[in-house]
Protein backbone atom coordinates (compact mmCIF):
# COMPACT_ATOMS: atom_id res chain seq x y z
CA UNK A 1 0.00 0.00 0.00
CA UNK A 2 2.79 2.36 0.91
CA UNK A 3 4.60 1.79 -2.37
CA UNK A 4 1.47 2.62 -4.31
CA UNK A 5 1.14 5.89 -2.40
CA UNK A 6 4.75 6.78 -3.21
CA UNK A 7 4.25 6.03 -6.92
CA UNK A 8 1.22 8.31 -6.87
CA UNK A 9 3.18 11.10 -5.21
CA UNK A 10 5.96 10.82 -7.80
CA UNK A 11 3.46 10.70 -10.66
CA UNK A 12 1.60 13.78 -9.45
CA UNK A 13 4.89 15.63 -8.94
CA UNK A 14 5.80 15.01 -12.59
CA UNK A 15 2.46 16.48 -13.63
CA UNK A 16 3.02 19.57 -11.44
CA UNK A 17 6.50 19.85 -12.93
CA UNK A 18 5.21 19.91 -16.55
CA UNK A 19 2.75 22.66 -15.80
CA UNK A 20 5.41 24.52 -13.82
CA UNK A 21 7.84 24.42 -16.77
CA UNK A 22 5.19 25.71 -19.16
CA UNK A 23 4.29 28.60 -16.84
CA UNK A 24 7.98 29.27 -16.15
CA UNK A 25 8.69 29.54 -19.90
CA UNK A 26 5.79 31.96 -20.33
CA UNK A 27 6.88 34.07 -17.37
CA UNK A 28 10.51 34.28 -18.42
CA UNK A 29 9.61 35.39 -21.95
CA UNK A 30 7.26 38.05 -20.56
CA UNK A 31 9.77 39.06 -17.87
CA UNK A 32 12.67 39.72 -20.26
CA UNK A 33 10.54 41.46 -22.86
CA UNK A 34 8.89 43.72 -20.30
CA UNK A 35 12.04 44.53 -18.28
CA UNK A 36 14.16 45.37 -21.32
CA UNK A 37 11.43 46.71 -23.56
CA UNK A 38 9.72 49.07 -21.13
CA UNK A 39 12.73 51.40 -20.98
CA UNK A 40 12.63 51.90 -24.74
CA UNK A 41 8.97 52.71 -25.09
CA UNK A 42 7.88 56.31 -24.81
CA UNK A 43 5.53 58.57 -26.70
CA UNK A 44 8.13 59.36 -29.35
CA UNK A 45 8.88 55.66 -29.94
CA UNK A 46 5.21 54.99 -30.64
CA UNK A 47 4.52 58.01 -32.80
CA UNK A 48 7.59 58.90 -34.83
CA UNK A 49 9.26 57.57 -37.97
CA UNK A 50 12.46 55.50 -37.78
CA UNK A 51 15.62 57.57 -38.10
CA UNK A 52 19.25 57.11 -39.12
CA UNK A 53 19.00 53.69 -40.73
CA UNK A 54 16.77 52.12 -38.05
CA UNK A 55 19.13 52.92 -35.20
CA UNK A 56 16.97 55.69 -33.73
CA UNK A 57 13.45 57.03 -33.82
CA UNK A 58 10.14 55.25 -33.58
CA UNK A 59 8.13 52.45 -35.10
CA UNK A 60 4.96 54.17 -36.25
CA UNK A 61 5.09 52.72 -39.80
CA UNK A 62 5.31 49.18 -38.37
CA UNK A 63 2.37 49.77 -36.00
CA UNK A 64 0.25 51.18 -38.84
CA UNK A 65 1.32 48.39 -41.19
CA UNK A 66 0.27 45.69 -38.75
CA UNK A 67 -3.03 47.49 -38.19
CA UNK A 68 -3.74 47.62 -41.95
CA UNK A 69 -2.74 44.00 -42.52
CA UNK A 70 -4.80 42.60 -39.64
CA UNK A 71 -7.83 44.74 -40.54
CA UNK A 72 -7.62 43.74 -44.19
CA UNK A 73 -7.26 40.07 -43.30
CA UNK A 74 -10.33 40.05 -41.05
CA UNK A 75 -12.46 42.02 -43.54
CA UNK A 76 -11.70 39.37 -46.15
CA UNK A 77 -11.91 36.35 -43.90
CA UNK A 78 -14.87 37.09 -41.61
CA UNK A 79 -17.69 36.89 -44.19
CA UNK A 80 -16.21 33.77 -45.80
CA UNK A 81 -15.77 32.14 -42.41
CA UNK A 82 -19.27 32.96 -41.14
CA UNK A 83 -20.91 31.69 -44.34
CA UNK A 84 -18.94 28.44 -44.18
CA UNK A 85 -19.86 28.03 -40.51
CA UNK A 86 -23.56 28.61 -41.26
CA UNK A 87 -23.46 25.76 -43.74
CA UNK A 88 -21.71 23.45 -41.29
CA UNK A 89 -23.96 24.15 -38.33
CA UNK A 90 -27.36 24.80 -39.97
CA UNK A 91 -27.49 22.82 -43.20
CA UNK A 92 -24.93 20.04 -43.20
CA UNK A 93 -25.97 16.50 -42.41
CA UNK A 94 -23.36 14.05 -41.17
CA UNK A 95 -21.92 12.37 -44.20
CA UNK A 96 -19.20 12.25 -46.78
CA UNK A 97 -19.48 15.84 -47.95
CA UNK A 98 -19.19 17.29 -44.46
CA UNK A 99 -16.28 15.03 -43.68
CA UNK A 100 -14.44 16.31 -46.76
CA UNK A 101 -15.24 19.92 -45.87
CA UNK A 102 -13.89 19.38 -42.35
CA UNK A 103 -10.80 17.64 -43.64
CA UNK A 104 -10.22 20.68 -45.86
CA UNK A 105 -10.53 23.10 -42.93
CA UNK A 106 -8.26 21.01 -40.68
CA UNK A 107 -5.63 20.68 -43.35
CA UNK A 108 -5.74 24.35 -44.25
CA UNK A 109 -5.00 25.17 -40.62
CA UNK A 110 -2.03 22.79 -40.72
CA UNK A 111 -0.32 24.34 -43.74
CA UNK A 112 3.02 25.87 -42.64
CA UNK A 113 2.93 29.66 -42.55
CA UNK A 114 5.88 30.00 -44.93
CA UNK A 115 3.94 27.97 -47.51
CA UNK A 116 1.14 30.54 -47.26
CA UNK A 117 3.82 33.12 -47.97
CA UNK A 118 4.86 31.37 -51.18
CA UNK A 119 1.22 30.91 -52.18
CA UNK A 120 0.61 34.63 -51.71
CA UNK A 121 3.74 35.43 -53.69
CA UNK A 122 2.69 33.16 -56.56
CA UNK A 123 -0.96 34.15 -56.72
CA UNK A 124 -1.44 37.70 -55.39
CA UNK A 125 1.93 39.33 -55.95
CA UNK A 126 2.69 37.75 -59.33
CA UNK A 127 -0.43 36.28 -60.95
CA UNK A 128 -2.91 38.99 -59.98
CA UNK A 129 -0.17 41.59 -60.20
CA UNK A 130 -0.92 43.23 -56.84
CA UNK A 131 2.82 43.41 -56.20
CA UNK A 132 4.38 43.40 -52.74
CA UNK A 133 1.56 45.31 -51.06
CA UNK A 134 -0.90 45.66 -48.19
CA UNK A 135 -3.50 43.97 -50.39
CA UNK A 136 -1.38 40.89 -51.15
CA UNK A 137 -0.36 40.52 -47.50
CA UNK A 138 -3.89 40.98 -46.14
CA UNK A 139 -5.37 38.42 -48.55
CA UNK A 140 -2.65 35.89 -47.69
CA UNK A 141 -3.23 36.40 -43.95
CA UNK A 142 -6.99 36.26 -44.51
CA UNK A 143 -6.75 32.75 -45.95
CA UNK A 144 -4.41 31.73 -43.14
CA UNK A 145 -6.89 32.72 -40.40
CA UNK A 146 -9.95 31.32 -42.20
CA UNK A 147 -9.96 28.00 -40.26
CA UNK A 148 -9.83 29.90 -36.93
CA UNK A 149 -12.82 32.02 -37.96
CA UNK A 150 -14.84 29.05 -39.23
CA UNK A 151 -14.29 27.01 -36.06
CA UNK A 152 -15.14 29.83 -33.68
CA UNK A 153 -18.24 30.81 -35.68
CA UNK A 154 -19.44 27.24 -35.91
CA UNK A 155 -19.00 26.79 -32.18
CA UNK A 156 -20.99 29.96 -31.59
CA UNK A 157 -23.80 28.81 -33.89
CA UNK A 158 -23.94 25.33 -32.37
CA UNK A 159 -24.25 26.84 -28.90
CA UNK A 160 -27.67 28.27 -29.81
CA UNK A 161 -30.26 25.87 -28.37
CA UNK A 162 -32.29 23.82 -30.82
CA UNK A 163 -35.48 25.09 -29.16
CA UNK A 164 -34.82 28.60 -30.54
CA UNK A 165 -34.84 27.25 -34.08
CA UNK A 166 -37.88 25.07 -33.42
CA UNK A 167 -39.81 27.99 -31.97
CA UNK A 168 -39.06 30.13 -35.00
CA UNK A 169 -39.90 27.36 -37.48
CA UNK A 170 -43.10 26.56 -35.60
CA UNK A 171 -44.21 30.17 -36.04
CA UNK A 172 -43.99 29.62 -39.76
CA UNK A 173 -40.60 31.19 -40.46
CA UNK A 174 -38.55 29.62 -43.22
CA UNK A 175 -35.13 28.14 -42.50
CA UNK A 176 -33.39 31.21 -43.88
CA UNK A 177 -35.60 33.57 -41.86
CA UNK A 178 -34.78 31.53 -38.77
CA UNK A 179 -31.04 31.76 -39.40
CA UNK A 180 -31.18 35.46 -40.21
CA UNK A 181 -33.59 36.51 -37.49
CA UNK A 182 -32.90 34.13 -34.61
CA UNK A 183 -29.71 32.10 -34.89
CA UNK A 184 -27.21 34.66 -36.21
CA UNK A 185 -28.10 37.55 -33.88
CA UNK A 186 -27.72 35.30 -30.84
CA UNK A 187 -24.39 33.95 -32.10
CA UNK A 188 -22.78 37.35 -32.64
CA UNK A 189 -20.76 37.51 -29.39
CA UNK A 190 -19.27 34.08 -30.12
CA UNK A 191 -18.46 35.02 -33.67
CA UNK A 192 -16.81 38.21 -32.41
CA UNK A 193 -14.56 36.11 -30.19
CA UNK A 194 -13.42 34.17 -33.23
CA UNK A 195 -12.86 37.34 -35.20
CA UNK A 196 -10.77 38.82 -32.39
CA UNK A 197 -8.63 35.69 -32.16
CA UNK A 198 -8.18 35.86 -35.92
CA UNK A 199 -6.98 39.46 -35.71
CA UNK A 200 -4.48 38.47 -33.00
CA UNK A 201 -3.16 35.64 -35.11
CA UNK A 202 -2.87 37.82 -38.24
CA UNK A 203 -1.08 40.59 -36.33
CA UNK A 204 1.62 38.23 -35.09
CA UNK A 205 2.44 36.29 -38.25
CA UNK A 206 5.71 36.99 -40.03
CA UNK A 207 6.45 34.30 -42.59
CA UNK A 208 3.31 34.87 -44.73
CA UNK A 209 4.09 38.56 -45.19
CA UNK A 210 7.84 38.25 -45.82
CA UNK A 211 7.46 38.18 -49.61
CA UNK A 212 3.95 39.53 -49.98
CA UNK A 213 3.74 42.78 -48.04
CA UNK A 214 6.71 43.96 -46.05
CA UNK A 215 9.88 45.88 -46.48
CA UNK A 216 12.54 46.76 -43.91
CA UNK A 217 12.24 50.47 -44.41
CA UNK A 218 9.59 52.83 -45.80
CA UNK A 219 10.56 56.46 -46.03
CA UNK A 220 6.90 57.48 -45.91
CA UNK A 221 3.61 56.06 -44.70
CA UNK A 222 1.58 54.03 -47.20
CA UNK A 223 -0.97 55.94 -49.26
CA UNK A 224 -2.82 53.08 -50.94
CA UNK A 225 -3.44 49.36 -50.56
CA UNK A 226 -0.89 48.75 -53.32
CA UNK A 227 1.99 50.17 -51.27
CA UNK A 228 4.48 47.98 -49.47
CA UNK A 229 4.67 48.49 -45.74
CA UNK A 230 6.52 47.73 -42.54
CA UNK A 231 4.95 45.45 -39.93
CA UNK A 232 5.73 44.83 -36.25
CA UNK A 233 6.69 41.13 -36.46
CA UNK A 234 8.81 41.61 -39.56
CA UNK A 235 10.41 44.69 -38.01
CA UNK A 236 11.65 42.59 -35.07
CA UNK A 237 13.14 40.01 -37.42
CA UNK A 238 14.75 42.64 -39.65
CA UNK A 239 16.26 44.54 -36.71
CA UNK A 240 17.91 41.33 -35.53
CA UNK A 241 19.21 40.16 -38.90
CA UNK A 242 19.83 43.23 -41.06
CA UNK A 243 21.71 46.46 -40.58
CA UNK A 244 25.13 46.84 -39.03
CA UNK A 245 24.55 48.52 -35.66
CA UNK A 246 23.22 45.65 -33.62
CA UNK A 247 24.02 47.38 -30.30
CA UNK A 248 21.59 50.15 -31.31
CA UNK A 249 19.08 47.87 -33.01
CA UNK A 250 18.57 45.28 -30.25
CA UNK A 251 17.00 47.79 -27.81
CA UNK A 252 14.60 48.92 -30.54
CA UNK A 253 13.79 45.26 -31.20
CA UNK A 254 13.00 44.81 -27.49
CA UNK A 255 10.68 47.82 -27.62
CA UNK A 256 8.99 46.56 -30.79
CA UNK A 257 8.57 43.10 -29.26
CA UNK A 258 6.93 44.58 -26.17
CA UNK A 259 4.53 46.56 -28.36
CA UNK A 260 3.67 43.47 -30.44
CA UNK A 261 3.28 41.17 -27.46
CA UNK A 262 1.09 43.68 -25.58
CA UNK A 263 -1.07 44.08 -28.65
CA UNK A 264 -1.50 40.34 -29.19
CA UNK A 265 -2.07 39.60 -25.50
CA UNK A 266 -4.64 42.38 -25.14
CA UNK A 267 -6.47 41.03 -28.17
CA UNK A 268 -6.44 37.48 -26.77
CA UNK A 269 -7.46 38.69 -23.32
CA UNK A 270 -10.42 40.50 -24.84
CA UNK A 271 -11.51 37.27 -26.55
CA UNK A 272 -11.10 35.27 -23.33
CA UNK A 273 -13.15 37.81 -21.36
CA UNK A 274 -15.97 37.88 -23.92
CA UNK A 275 -16.13 34.11 -23.94
CA UNK A 276 -16.08 33.91 -20.15
CA UNK A 277 -18.89 36.47 -19.84
CA UNK A 278 -20.89 34.61 -22.43
CA UNK A 279 -20.61 31.31 -20.60
CA UNK A 280 -21.52 32.90 -17.28
CA UNK A 281 -24.25 35.20 -18.50
CA UNK A 282 -26.31 33.00 -20.76
CA UNK A 283 -28.31 30.23 -19.24
CA UNK A 284 -30.72 29.09 -21.87
Amino acid sequence: MKKRKIVQTIGFSLLYLSVFIAIFALSSILYFVIIKGAGVINWEFLTSMPKEGMTKGGIVPAILGTFYLATGAILFSLPLGIFAAIYLSEYAKQGRLVRIVRLGINNLSGVPSIVFGLFGLGIFVKFFGFGVSILSGALTLGILILPTIIRASEEALLAIPESFREASLALGATKWQTIKGVVLPNAIPGIMTGAILGVGRAAGETAPILFTATTFFCSRLPSSIFDEIQALPYHIYALMTEGTHSELQVPIAYGTTLVLISLVLLINLLAIIIRYKMRKGKKW
Partner: protein, 290 residues
Protein backbone atom coordinates in the same frame (compact mmCIF):
# COMPACT_ATOMS: atom_id res chain seq x y z
CA UNK B 1 -34.64 26.15 -57.79
CA UNK B 2 -36.46 27.52 -54.77
CA UNK B 3 -35.04 30.41 -52.80
CA UNK B 4 -34.28 28.19 -49.80
CA UNK B 5 -32.39 25.72 -51.95
CA UNK B 6 -30.39 28.51 -53.51
CA UNK B 7 -29.44 29.83 -50.06
CA UNK B 8 -28.25 26.39 -49.02
CA UNK B 9 -26.06 26.12 -52.14
CA UNK B 10 -24.70 29.60 -51.44
CA UNK B 11 -23.46 28.59 -47.99
CA UNK B 12 -22.16 25.26 -49.28
CA UNK B 13 -20.00 27.17 -51.74
CA UNK B 14 -18.28 28.98 -48.87
CA UNK B 15 -17.88 25.78 -46.88
CA UNK B 16 -16.04 24.29 -49.84
CA UNK B 17 -13.69 27.30 -50.09
CA UNK B 18 -11.15 25.78 -47.66
CA UNK B 19 -10.68 22.84 -50.01
CA UNK B 20 -10.51 25.22 -52.92
CA UNK B 21 -7.75 27.22 -51.19
CA UNK B 22 -5.89 24.03 -50.29
CA UNK B 23 -6.00 22.93 -53.93
CA UNK B 24 -4.99 26.44 -54.97
CA UNK B 25 -1.92 26.33 -52.72
CA UNK B 26 -0.87 22.98 -54.16
CA UNK B 27 -1.47 24.25 -57.69
CA UNK B 28 0.60 27.41 -57.17
CA UNK B 29 3.46 25.46 -55.57
CA UNK B 30 3.54 23.03 -58.49
CA UNK B 31 3.15 25.73 -61.10
CA UNK B 32 6.13 27.67 -59.75
CA UNK B 33 8.22 24.75 -58.58
CA UNK B 34 7.72 21.89 -61.02
CA UNK B 35 10.13 23.22 -63.65
CA UNK B 36 12.94 22.78 -61.13
CA UNK B 37 12.70 19.07 -61.85
CA UNK B 38 13.46 19.66 -65.50
CA UNK B 39 16.92 20.77 -64.39
CA UNK B 40 17.50 18.80 -61.20
CA UNK B 41 16.50 15.13 -61.00
CA UNK B 42 14.17 14.20 -58.16
CA UNK B 43 16.65 11.78 -56.54
CA UNK B 44 19.45 14.36 -56.60
CA UNK B 45 17.08 16.93 -55.14
CA UNK B 46 15.78 14.81 -52.26
CA UNK B 47 19.00 12.94 -51.44
CA UNK B 48 21.73 15.31 -52.64
CA UNK B 49 24.10 16.10 -49.79
CA UNK B 50 24.97 19.68 -50.66
CA UNK B 51 22.86 22.80 -50.94
CA UNK B 52 24.85 25.54 -52.71
CA UNK B 53 22.14 27.28 -54.74
CA UNK B 54 24.21 30.37 -55.58
CA UNK B 55 27.33 28.59 -56.88
CA UNK B 56 27.84 28.17 -60.62
CA UNK B 57 26.78 25.55 -61.36
CA UNK B 58 24.50 25.49 -58.32
CA UNK B 59 24.00 22.40 -56.19
CA UNK B 60 20.45 21.66 -55.10
CA UNK B 61 20.49 18.71 -52.72
CA UNK B 62 18.05 19.23 -49.85
CA UNK B 63 19.03 16.23 -47.70
CA UNK B 64 20.79 18.51 -45.16
CA UNK B 65 17.64 20.65 -44.95
CA UNK B 66 15.34 17.65 -44.55
CA UNK B 67 17.61 16.23 -41.83
CA UNK B 68 17.79 19.66 -40.18
CA UNK B 69 13.98 19.84 -40.10
CA UNK B 70 13.67 16.29 -38.77
CA UNK B 71 16.33 16.78 -36.09
CA UNK B 72 14.75 19.95 -34.77
CA UNK B 73 11.26 18.41 -34.93
CA UNK B 74 12.30 15.27 -33.03
CA UNK B 75 14.05 17.45 -30.46
CA UNK B 76 10.95 19.60 -30.09
CA UNK B 77 8.77 16.53 -29.55
CA UNK B 78 11.12 15.23 -26.84
CA UNK B 79 10.39 18.48 -24.99
CA UNK B 80 6.74 19.02 -25.93
CA UNK B 81 5.24 15.52 -25.67
CA UNK B 82 5.93 14.79 -21.99
CA UNK B 83 5.29 18.39 -20.91
CA UNK B 84 2.18 18.76 -23.07
CA UNK B 85 0.62 15.47 -22.00
CA UNK B 86 1.65 16.04 -18.39
CA UNK B 87 -0.05 19.44 -18.44
CA UNK B 88 -3.12 17.94 -20.12
CA UNK B 89 -3.46 15.23 -17.47
CA UNK B 90 -2.95 17.78 -14.71
CA UNK B 91 -5.59 20.13 -16.09
CA UNK B 92 -8.22 17.51 -16.75
CA UNK B 93 -7.68 15.04 -13.88
CA UNK B 94 -5.83 16.66 -11.00
CA UNK B 95 -6.35 20.43 -10.92
CA UNK B 96 -9.17 21.90 -8.88
CA UNK B 97 -11.64 23.93 -10.96
CA UNK B 98 -10.25 27.24 -9.68
CA UNK B 99 -6.68 26.32 -10.59
CA UNK B 100 -7.80 25.00 -13.95
CA UNK B 101 -9.47 28.32 -14.74
CA UNK B 102 -6.11 30.03 -14.26
CA UNK B 103 -3.82 27.51 -15.99
CA UNK B 104 -5.88 27.03 -19.15
CA UNK B 105 -5.88 30.72 -20.14
CA UNK B 106 -2.14 30.88 -19.35
CA UNK B 107 -1.50 28.05 -21.81
CA UNK B 108 -3.69 29.86 -24.34
CA UNK B 109 -1.50 32.93 -23.88
CA UNK B 110 1.61 30.80 -24.43
CA UNK B 111 0.00 29.56 -27.66
CA UNK B 112 -0.82 33.11 -28.70
CA UNK B 113 2.72 34.48 -28.50
CA UNK B 114 3.87 35.16 -32.09
CA UNK B 115 6.64 32.91 -33.37
CA UNK B 116 8.92 35.85 -34.11
CA UNK B 117 8.81 36.71 -30.39
CA UNK B 118 9.95 33.19 -29.53
CA UNK B 119 12.70 33.60 -32.12
CA UNK B 120 13.74 36.94 -30.67
CA UNK B 121 13.74 35.59 -27.10
CA UNK B 122 15.78 32.60 -28.32
CA UNK B 123 18.33 34.85 -29.97
CA UNK B 124 18.87 37.39 -27.19
CA UNK B 125 18.27 35.35 -24.03
CA UNK B 126 18.24 31.60 -24.51
CA UNK B 127 21.03 31.09 -27.08
CA UNK B 128 23.66 33.07 -25.11
CA UNK B 129 22.63 31.07 -22.03
CA UNK B 130 23.09 27.75 -23.88
CA UNK B 131 26.43 28.92 -25.25
CA UNK B 132 27.65 29.71 -21.74
CA UNK B 133 26.51 26.58 -19.91
CA UNK B 134 27.67 24.15 -22.61
CA UNK B 135 30.75 26.20 -23.50
CA UNK B 136 30.22 25.93 -27.27
CA UNK B 137 31.25 28.37 -30.03
CA UNK B 138 27.69 29.46 -30.78
CA UNK B 139 24.41 29.16 -28.91
CA UNK B 140 22.45 29.04 -32.15
CA UNK B 141 22.10 25.26 -32.48
CA UNK B 142 19.60 22.51 -33.22
CA UNK B 143 19.30 21.98 -29.45
CA UNK B 144 18.38 25.61 -28.79
CA UNK B 145 15.80 25.59 -31.56
CA UNK B 146 14.38 22.27 -30.33
CA UNK B 147 13.78 23.54 -26.81
CA UNK B 148 12.08 26.73 -28.01
CA UNK B 149 10.01 24.87 -30.62
CA UNK B 150 9.06 22.35 -27.95
CA UNK B 151 7.71 25.11 -25.72
CA UNK B 152 5.80 26.48 -28.71
CA UNK B 153 4.25 23.10 -29.55
CA UNK B 154 3.39 22.40 -25.90
CA UNK B 155 0.05 24.28 -25.80
CA UNK B 156 -1.09 22.65 -29.08
CA UNK B 157 -0.41 19.17 -27.72
CA UNK B 158 -1.78 20.00 -24.26
CA UNK B 159 -5.07 21.40 -25.53
CA UNK B 160 -5.87 18.54 -27.92
CA UNK B 161 -4.69 15.87 -25.47
CA UNK B 162 -6.82 17.48 -22.75
CA UNK B 163 -9.91 17.25 -24.96
CA UNK B 164 -9.21 13.56 -25.45
CA UNK B 165 -8.53 12.85 -21.77
CA UNK B 166 -11.52 14.75 -20.45
CA UNK B 167 -13.85 12.97 -22.87
CA UNK B 168 -13.06 9.56 -21.35
CA UNK B 169 -16.37 8.47 -19.76
CA UNK B 170 -16.57 9.02 -16.02
CA UNK B 171 -17.82 5.47 -15.53
CA UNK B 172 -14.41 4.07 -16.60
CA UNK B 173 -12.67 5.99 -13.82
CA UNK B 174 -15.32 5.20 -11.23
CA UNK B 175 -15.05 1.51 -12.05
CA UNK B 176 -11.29 1.64 -11.58
CA UNK B 177 -11.47 3.62 -8.33
CA UNK B 178 -14.15 1.38 -6.87
CA UNK B 179 -11.93 -1.64 -7.49
CA UNK B 180 -9.43 -0.04 -5.12
CA UNK B 181 -7.03 1.54 -7.61
CA UNK B 182 -5.36 4.79 -6.52
CA UNK B 183 -6.03 7.97 -8.46
CA UNK B 184 -2.64 7.68 -10.12
CA UNK B 185 -3.21 4.05 -11.11
CA UNK B 186 -6.55 5.07 -12.59
CA UNK B 187 -4.89 7.84 -14.61
CA UNK B 188 -1.98 5.70 -15.79
CA UNK B 189 -3.82 2.47 -16.53
CA UNK B 190 -7.38 3.49 -17.41
CA UNK B 191 -7.83 7.15 -18.36
CA UNK B 192 -4.69 7.76 -20.43
CA UNK B 193 -4.82 4.43 -22.30
CA UNK B 194 -8.49 5.07 -23.15
CA UNK B 195 -7.57 8.48 -24.53
CA UNK B 196 -4.54 7.16 -26.39
CA UNK B 197 -5.77 7.73 -29.93
CA UNK B 198 -6.72 11.33 -29.15
CA UNK B 199 -3.32 11.80 -27.55
CA UNK B 200 -1.55 10.38 -30.61
CA UNK B 201 -3.51 12.76 -32.81
CA UNK B 202 -2.29 15.59 -30.57
CA UNK B 203 1.32 14.45 -30.93
CA UNK B 204 1.08 14.21 -34.71
CA UNK B 205 -0.48 17.68 -34.93
CA UNK B 206 2.28 19.02 -32.67
CA UNK B 207 4.80 17.42 -35.01
CA UNK B 208 3.19 19.15 -37.98
CA UNK B 209 3.33 22.45 -36.11
CA UNK B 210 7.04 21.99 -35.31
CA UNK B 211 8.14 20.93 -38.80
CA UNK B 212 6.29 23.84 -40.40
CA UNK B 213 7.45 26.50 -37.96
CA UNK B 214 9.56 29.11 -39.68
CA UNK B 215 10.58 32.25 -37.83
CA UNK B 216 11.86 30.57 -34.69
CA UNK B 217 14.16 28.14 -36.47
CA UNK B 218 15.22 30.84 -38.90
CA UNK B 219 16.39 33.01 -36.01
CA UNK B 220 17.59 30.40 -33.53
CA UNK B 221 18.81 27.24 -35.31
CA UNK B 222 21.98 28.82 -36.69
CA UNK B 223 21.35 28.33 -40.39
CA UNK B 224 24.21 26.06 -41.53
CA UNK B 225 23.08 23.93 -44.48
CA UNK B 226 25.18 20.89 -43.59
CA UNK B 227 24.24 17.36 -42.62
CA UNK B 228 24.00 17.52 -38.82
CA UNK B 229 26.02 15.18 -36.60
CA UNK B 230 25.06 16.40 -33.14
CA UNK B 231 22.34 18.42 -31.49
CA UNK B 232 24.86 21.09 -30.56
CA UNK B 233 25.62 22.42 -34.02
CA UNK B 234 23.89 24.97 -36.22
CA UNK B 235 21.37 23.47 -38.63
CA UNK B 236 19.09 24.80 -41.29
CA UNK B 237 15.55 23.61 -41.87
CA UNK B 238 13.46 23.55 -45.04
CA UNK B 239 11.26 26.38 -43.77
CA UNK B 240 14.21 28.58 -42.80
CA UNK B 241 15.83 28.05 -46.20
CA UNK B 242 12.76 29.28 -48.04
CA UNK B 243 12.36 32.28 -45.73
CA UNK B 244 16.02 33.26 -45.85
CA UNK B 245 16.63 32.84 -49.57
CA UNK B 246 13.43 33.70 -51.43
CA UNK B 247 14.09 37.42 -51.13
CA UNK B 248 17.38 37.14 -53.01
CA UNK B 249 16.31 34.92 -55.90
CA UNK B 250 15.50 35.89 -59.44
CA UNK B 251 11.80 35.23 -60.12
CA UNK B 252 11.50 32.19 -62.40
CA UNK B 253 15.16 31.19 -62.00
CA UNK B 254 16.22 27.73 -60.89
CA UNK B 255 16.92 28.84 -57.32
CA UNK B 256 13.41 30.36 -57.09
CA UNK B 257 11.90 27.18 -58.52
CA UNK B 258 13.84 24.93 -56.18
CA UNK B 259 12.57 26.88 -53.15
CA UNK B 260 9.00 26.25 -54.36
CA UNK B 261 9.97 22.60 -54.79
CA UNK B 262 11.05 22.53 -51.12
CA UNK B 263 7.65 23.98 -50.25
CA UNK B 264 6.00 21.10 -52.15
CA UNK B 265 7.92 18.60 -50.00
CA UNK B 266 6.95 20.52 -46.86
CA UNK B 267 3.30 20.82 -47.88
CA UNK B 268 2.98 17.10 -48.65
CA UNK B 269 4.68 16.19 -45.36
CA UNK B 270 2.38 18.31 -43.21
CA UNK B 271 -0.66 17.23 -45.25
CA UNK B 272 0.21 13.60 -44.52
CA UNK B 273 0.58 14.31 -40.79
CA UNK B 274 -2.75 16.11 -40.69
CA UNK B 275 -4.61 13.41 -42.56
CA UNK B 276 -3.20 10.73 -40.26
CA UNK B 277 -4.15 12.77 -37.18
CA UNK B 278 -7.62 13.39 -38.57
CA UNK B 279 -8.08 9.70 -39.34
CA UNK B 280 -7.02 8.66 -35.83
CA UNK B 281 -9.26 11.14 -34.05
CA UNK B 282 -12.22 10.32 -36.31
CA UNK B 283 -11.93 6.62 -35.56
CA UNK B 284 -11.60 7.47 -31.90
CA UNK B 285 -14.80 9.50 -31.85
CA UNK B 286 -16.65 6.61 -33.48
CA UNK B 287 -15.34 4.23 -30.84
CA UNK B 288 -16.27 6.48 -27.93
CA UNK B 289 -19.79 7.16 -29.09
CA UNK B 290 -20.29 3.48 -29.83
Amino acid sequence: MTKEKFIKRFFLFFALLSIFFLAGILFVLFKEGISAFGKINLGGFLFGRSWYPTHTPGEFGILPLILGSLLVTVGALVVAVPLGIGSAIYISEVAKPGVRDVIKPLLEILAGIPSVVYGFFGMVVFAPFIQRIFDIPTGLTAFTASVILGIMALPTIASIAEDAISSVPKSYKEASLSLGATEWETIARVTVPSAMSGISAAIILGMGRAIGETMTVLMVAGGAAVIPHTFFQPVRTMTATIAAEMGETMVGGIHYQSLFAIAIVLFLLTLTFNIIADHISHRYKKKMTG
